[in-house]
């Protein structure tokens, strides 16, 4: 048991206030060496704030932090992230802090002390390879960050922290961007690290993961520490209740529908990826009016490119996209919007929102060109505000007001805002809009996931053709009418949830074509 292991980090009575918000209130947390300690809670429960205090980004208003040093606990005053790194605390943030145009090796040493004047990058690269092999987290040190998949970028972040000598690692929702397989790999890498005596704090709101990864779990709710438990002596139900404070509904009821009118037809679609290599190699796909077509697949098998090609954001090199019988191949994003193709992008803050602009401006991204918001070249800011108020009310977006910058909303509310905008834009198309939703519930808390899924099903029931890209197979099975499995830029097979199993989908995802 972990009871005998020495304590690596002790946080006592941590309180952190922001104007108008009490983010942490009298929180205790104890992390031992050699354990994976999950920090569980809904979005806004104060997990990230607590960890930002530990890694020197914020300073607590009250409370004390002690760290293991030379066999005993010592009070420390962590003044900055740099100081935290010196103390052996490293954090892997949910939004990666990497320089996209530089290489993996260069990112490792950016901002590091003691970098020699005459750089020997080959030594850095060799060190990275060695670290990568040790934990089975291989990355090419000479690749530029922008060429890497999200999963690979995360490896770089973790290796960076290790490279700088961290013995306490904080991972902020690390699996939010990973496939089940990648999550599994991450889990075994983390195991190897704690076996060497490192301590790992693992921020999550996914119960399955906490159960399968962690040794102990601390549950936060509304900024307070609700419980710290051994994972072995608890279960998903208890954790869910502690986290949410109530029991959860499971499943989303779907209405019956007739599949007769194809709205979106994708025919032999080909497109290149960011690295200039073929990412889509002849994709055929049809989405009917009132149907959810799930897209399953391991990350990087063409899902993002498919979403972008359908919405006009990526150049199509061959094949056809037809919307309600009209050929839309090679149309611009604006023309696709006007054709009724709505898009919930996978990268919420990177693509879906302009974080510094007010919520109202963000909600107007698809409607500002038309009446009633627009009048000739002019834009009616008042109407933009009232439109925002309507959407906020209808979709239950929690925001102080339409003028608040979108960046200040929680992840769940950002996603609700995007959904509000896209679904509202699709309503103008009586004969059925297309909604391309990429990873719509990624990184959201349980309550928000429920709300988003219910919205998607409601749109389907209303007659929208939904293309749902997800890495959560349970979600795909729950929401989809049909599931197309992508592998290597091709559709390996189309299955119906009622007559398939997770195992069959898994085989298709691995590239076994269905006969």
């Amino acid at each position: 048991m972990t009871d005998q292991l020495p304590v690596a980090v002790r946080m006592e009575g941590i309180t952190k206030r922001f104007p108008g918000v009490l983010a942490n209130e009298d929180v205790d947390l104890e992390v031992r060496t050699g354990e994976i300690h999950a920090l569980l809670g809904e979005n806004g429960a104060g997990k990230s704030t607590l960890m930002s205090v530990l890694c020197g980004l914020y300073r607590q208003d009250e409370g004390a932090i002690s760290l293991l040093s030379n066999g005993g606990l010592r009070r420390v005053d962590i003044g900055s992230p740099r100081h935290a790194i010196e103390l052996g605390i490293g954090m892997v943030h949910q939004h990666f802090k990497l320089v996209r145009t530089q290489t993996v090796a260069e990112n490792m040493i950016i901002g590091m002390d003691g970098v020699p004047f005459r750089l020997d990058m080959s030594q850095v690269a060799a060190d990275i390879r060695e670290l990568g092999e040790r934990y089975d987290m291989l990355v090419d040190p000479t690749a530029a960050i922008w060429q890497l998949s999200v999963g690979e970028q995360q490896r770089v972040e973790i290796l960076k922290v290790l490279y700088r000598g961290a013995n306490t690692l904080i991972l902020d929702e690390p699996t939010a961007v990973l496939t089940p397989q990648e999550s599994g790999q991450l889990g075994s890498a983390l195991r190897a690290m704690v076996a060497e005596g490192k301590a790992i704090v693992f921020i999550s709101h996914k119960l399955d993961e906490v159960i399968s990864f962690a040794d102990r779990v601390t549950v936060l709710r509304q900024g307070r520490n609700v419980a710290t438990l051994d994972v072995g002596s608890t279960n998903k139900h208890e954790l869910a209740r502690l986290m949410v404070g109530r029991e959860l509904a499971t499943g989303v009821p779907k209405g019956d529908r007739e599949l007769d009118q194809p709205v979106l037809v994708v025919d032999g679609l080909e497109a290149l990826g960011d690295r200039g290599l073929p990412a889509l190699r002849g994709v055929d796909l049809t989405a009917m009016r009132g149907e959810v077509v799930g897209i399953a697949g391991v990350a990087g098998n063409g899902q993002q490119e498919l979403a972008e090609a359908i919405t006009g954001l990526r150049r199509i090199t061959a094949g056809k996209v037809t919307v309600r019988g009209v050929d839309c191949t090679g149309k611009t994003p604006r023309q696709m919007i006007e054709a009724g193709v709505c898009h919930v992008p996978g990268d919420r803050l990177g693509v879906g929102l302009a974080g510094n602009l007010p919520v109202a401006d963000n909600l107007a991204m698809k409607t500002y060109r038309r009446r009633p918001l627009a009048r000739g070249p002019f834009l009616d800011r008042k109407k933009m505000g009232s439109q925002a108020k309507r959407m906020i009310d209808e979709f239950g977006v929690l925001t102080p007001g339409p003028a608040t910058p979108a960046r200040n909303l929680s992840g769940g509310n950002q996603q609700k805002a995007i959904l509000a905008r896209e679904i509202s834009a699709g309503r103008d198309f009586e004969s059925g809009a297309v909604l391309v939703a990429a990873y719509p519930t990624r990184g959201l808390d349980v309550g928000a996931i429920e709300a988003v899924r219910a919205r998607i099903v409601a749109e389907r029931d209303r007659g929208t053709a939904v293309v749902l890209i997800s890495e959560d197979l349970d979600e795909l099975m729950m929401l989809s009418d049909r599931i197309a499995v992508l592998h290597g830029g091709q559709v390996m097979g189309v299955v119906e949830p009622a007559s398939t199993t997770i195992e069959e989908i898994g085989l298709l995802m691995a590239g076994e074509r269905r006969s």
């Binding site: 009070r75 994003p333 879906g352 974080g355 401006d361 107007a364 060109r369 070249p377 002019f378 834009l379």
Partner: protein, 361 residues
């Protein structure tokens, strides 16, 4: 152990918005005062003379507004481009090309097309339009290079300044030189129909062009679809593409208007002040426009006030050279100190300094 730490402000309180610039100015004056004492001048006398020279009396005031006119236009030019994160630092060259084009119309059109009535009602709009187009053309090349090939606009717009300045110097020292000018470099004087009307002293209608442009940009930013698209691109280019905004089209359009505004500044200078093409058009107004835009936080109406204040600083600085016999370098150091403190002080309105008393462990 006590340490100092910068913390980002979540909101900027109103008192900070006022106290920071005022405090910065005070510190700048104090720093300048030390310098003045070192050269044996009473700082109070010197600052008094500066204020007197810039704002004391009709002549001083009109001269300050004259100096502010090109600064308003270049400030607006820069503010527009910077809103979209297009780093146009070529306002200087665009201004010069605007001046050249306006001069060209005034000097050669009467002969080339005698049928056009030689009236200010015809010629002034023509010259303004020529300046606008010439500036826009000078900005169009970097814009196209940027939007189609991704060429860094900072380099291209900067380099285009030198091309424009040398071209303009070549024109008034050789092909456009006034044959009746006793060998002095400079073109012939324009006919009176090409002069912007004056209010008082040298103060002319150019300032109205500046104020009008500021109102136009204010309308664009706060009331138009185009302004919304510019803000969207500036904040998140990928989100803008996703919203169906053509980034290519907007880079070109913004740059054409931005550079056109700088070109108008050149028109106002030759038609309102010099009435000929001569030395003195490329005196750094394009670069000062960057300071104006930044101090005004890229807000068009604020650009007017900032330009007038900065112009006062320039005019007052020139005045103490005359009234107190100070070397030009001293007044330039004072100007530099004030700008440095005010621009640098801005960090305190975005961050606060916190004293942290550690418990010694």
């Amino acid at each position: 152990m006590t340490t100092l730490k910068f913390e980002k402000r979540l909101t900027t309180p109103t008192y900070v918005k006022w106290s920071v610039p005022v405090g910065s100015l005070m510190l700048a004056l104090a720093a300048g005062g030390v310098l003045l004492i070192a050269v044996g001048v009473n700082p109070f006398t010197a600052y008094g003379a500066m204020i007197e020279g810039a704002y004391g009396g009709r002549t001083a005031l009109t001269e300050t507004l004259v100096r502010a006119t090109p600064l308003i236009l270049t400030g607006l030019s820069v503010a527009l481009a910077f809103r979209m994160l297009f780093w146009n630092i070529g306002a200087e060259g665009q201004l010069v090309m605007g001046g050249v084009a306006a001069s060209g119309v005034a000097l050669f059109l009467p002969e080339a097309a005698p049928s056009i009535p030689q009236s200010p009602w015809v010629y002034l709009p023509l010259m303004g339009l020529a300046a606008l187009l010439a500036g826009a053309l000078w900005g169009l090349v970097p814009a196209l290079l940027k939007s189609s090939l991704g060429v860094n606009e900072i380099i291209t717009t900067l380099m285009f300044n030198y091309v424009a300045i040398l071209f303009y110097q070549y024109l008034f020292t050789d092909p456009w030189k006034d044959p009746a000018g006793f060998g002095f470099p400079g073109s012939a004087e324009f006919g009176q129909f090409a002069w912007l009307p004056r209010f008082s002293g040298r103060l002319n209608f150019g300032i109205l062009v500046g104020v009008g442009s500021a109102v136009f940009l204010w309308l664009v930013f706060s009331k138009s679809k185009w302004g919304y698209e510019i803000a969207l691109i500036g904040e998140n280019e990928r989100a803008a593409r996703y919203a169906g905004v053509s980034v290519f089209r907007n880079i070109v359009l913004v740059m054409v208007v931005s550079a056109g505004l700088a070109g108008l500044a050149g028109f106002a200078e030759v038609s309102g002040i010099s009435h000929k093409l001569q030395q003195g058009l490329a005196v750094g107004n394009g670069f000062s426009g960057i300071i104006v835009a930044w101090l005004a936080k890229l807000r068009p109406l604020r650009v007017i006030w900032v330009a007038i204040l900065l112009a006062g600083l320039f005019v007052g600085g020139d005045q103490i050279q005359i009234t107190l016999g100070l070397p030009a370098s001293i007044s330039q150091v004072l100007q530099g100190a004030i700008l440095l403190f005010v621009l640098g002080g801005d960090i305190f309105s975005r961050y606060r300094l916190r004293l942290i008393r550690g418990d010694g462990s």
